[in-house]
């Protein structure tokens, strides 16, 4: 396995599933036999309206689960862009939900994939799967996990709500398709 050292921040409003997204990506990493950590923001920050989770995925043991400078930021709303854009590592990746962010990112030294994720999710039938579309985009872009791994994670995380599996699988596919069409 080539050396992997991913540092991802998933940020958005509470209710947009950024905690689930973090756990989703960490689960995918675990399934691939990698070291993973996932650190939710908690306490005061959660009550402030924006929430985030920090995910590390690596081929070596992970020291610090806290991420100051993410290699990737998956940003689901405008306030989170304000908060995290400046922290993304130079040369890093920003996946931005333009459905809920009116302004454009300013950095010129990062790669930006700007997609109306919420609208994509609505088209699939449930606004709540915007996070999983983002997971598909991230995975397709970084080529760390394939579609099948993500679909396995969907099933794994369904936890008794099996009726949600098909739409989440469609969301994974949609994410991969979006990257194919870039």
């Amino acid at each position: 396995m080539s050396k992997v050292k991913e540092a991802i921040i998933c940020a958005g409003f509470g209710g947009q599933g950024v905690m689930v997204l973090g756990k989703f990506l960490a689960n995918a990493g675990m399934m691939k036999g990698m070291y993973v950590t996932c650190m939710p923001s908690y306490g005061v920050e959660v009550r402030g309206g924006t929430a985030h989770s920090a995910v590390r995925i690596g081929s070596e043991m992970i020291a610090d689960p806290v991420i100051v400078t993410p290699g990737t930021a998956i940003v689901m709303n405008g306030p989170s862009l304000d908060k995290f854009e400046s922290r993304i590592a130079s040369g890093g990746l920003l996946i931005l939900n333009t459905s809920l962010c009116e302004h454009k990112p300013e950095r010129g030294d990062i790669e930006v994939i700007a997609v109306p994720l919420s609208d994509e999710a609505i088209k699939l039938g449930n606004v709540k799967v915007a996070n999983i579309v983002a997971a598909g985009i991230y995975s397709a872009k970084k080529k760390i996990f394939d579609r099948e791994t993500l679909k396995d994670v969907v099933v794994e995380m369904a936890g008794g709500r099996e009726e949600l599996v098909p739409i989440n699988i469609k969301a994974v596919d949609r994410g991969f398709d979006i990257v194919d069409q870039l």
Binding site: V36, C38, Y42, G43, I62
Partner: protein, 349 residues
């Protein structure tokens, strides 16, 4: 054996370990950042038909645990720093009455309400007694979600064996973070030992009391009781020290760090070794008893020490005691919830 593996928070790993270790009684009170643990116990203890009580205060919770322990049950309470301060009264009584109990402190920043970020500023409180009187409790310091499980599981038989409170000293980061957790699905609780001292009704034997008030002189005096406690502590110190020595054999400089901070220390060691610098890590796993001998043996080989903590410098005092040469012990700490960064540690080596 059937291994199961899933992504778990440290708090939930701790709770699951308690359930698997046969914890029959849990009492807790909400406080961040350990709330998931109390909530998890409410679910799991209920599923297992065991006792969960959300107490009216931390004082009540620790004393409920006292009662359950008097009655012979494996019992646990969990909290975070301000709540643990309140529990100190009960911990002193548990120690005085020689009752086993497991206490988890998911440490947050202090003093006072401080903040809810990870911290290691309760080291003194945990290792030097915490409450009133001459006593120690065993303190285990996990550094991963897996160890949150493993050490909590180990804490119950340790507590039973020595009739002593055992604390799992962790922090908000380890409690909140998720990592893979793996254990045998059919894991059995550690062997329950006889508790001939428990109070279950004086049936077929003389009545007895479990107490810490020792007003007598001579036999049954407080001095005699304390001698007995101290002898027990010496025995624990001689046989229960746990420490991880990482790349220390030829180390000229040694990072000493425990818990979450030790993870950063280990990463620094690997990076500096890559540059040919002879650095190692000592990670005390038991904070009490403290691995004085292991650190002294490195000091005898002329190593110098950098102690890294999320505090103003607490464990560093134990390292100085071990090294007995202050000039060779330096310290780096963060105190506001910031986790020491690798660059900041490496710049000091």
């Amino acid at each position: 054996m059937k291994e199961i593996k899933y992504l778990s928070t440290g708090n939930e790993a701790c709770g699951e370990a308690a359930v698997r270790a046969g914890c029959a009684f849990y009492a807790g009170y909400p406080i961040t950042p350990q709330n998931e643990l109390t909530a998890y116990m409410s679910l799991r203890m209920g599923q297992e038909g065991r006792t969960f009580i959300q107490a009216e205060s931390e004082l009540a919770a620790i004393n409920m645990v006292f009662g359950a322990s008097v009655a012979g049950a494996r019992a646990m309470t969990t909290s975070s720093s301000p709540g643990i301060s309140l529990k100190q009264e009960g911990i002193s009584y548990l120690a005085g009455c020689e009752l086993p109990a497991v206490i988890v402190n998911v440490v947050r920043g202090g003093p006072g309400l401080g903040n809810i970020s990870p911290s290691q500023s309760d080291y003194f409180q945990a290792t030097k007694g915490g409450g009133h009187g001459d006593y120690h409790i065993i303190v285990l310091a996990p550094a991963s979600v897996q160890e949150m499980f493993d050490f909590t599981y180990d804490a119950f038989p340790l507590a039973d064996k020595y009739r002593i409170p055992v604390m799992v000293l962790t922090d908000g980061m380890l409690g909140q973070m998720m990592e893979p957790l793996q254990f045998d699905e059919n894991i059995k609780p550690p062997q329950e030992i006889e508790k001939p001292w428990a109070l279950r009704g004086a049936s077929g034997r003389d009545a007895r009391a479990v107490k810490s008030l020792m007003l007598g002189v001579g036999k049954g005096s407080l001095e005699e009781h304390n001698e007995k406690l101290q002898a027990k502590y010496r025995q624990i110190a001689a046989s229960e020290v746990r420490v991880e020595m990482y790349r220390t054999d030829d180390a000229e400089q040694v990072i000493v760090a425990y818990g979450a901070t030790s993870r950063i220390g280990r990463s620094c060691v690997d990076r500096l070794r890559g540059e040919g610098i002879k650095v190692g890590l000592v990670r005390p796993v038991t904070l009490w008893p403290f691995p004085y001998d292991e650190i002294r043996s490195l000091a005898d080989k002329n190593a110098s020490f950098l102690v890294v903590e999320m505090s103003a410098g607490q464990m560093v005092e134990d390292v100085r005691l071990a090294v007995q040469d202050d000039k060779r012990v330096s310290f780096y700490g963060r105190m506001g919830g910031g986790i020491p960064m690798e660059e900041d540690i490496m710049s000091r080596l």
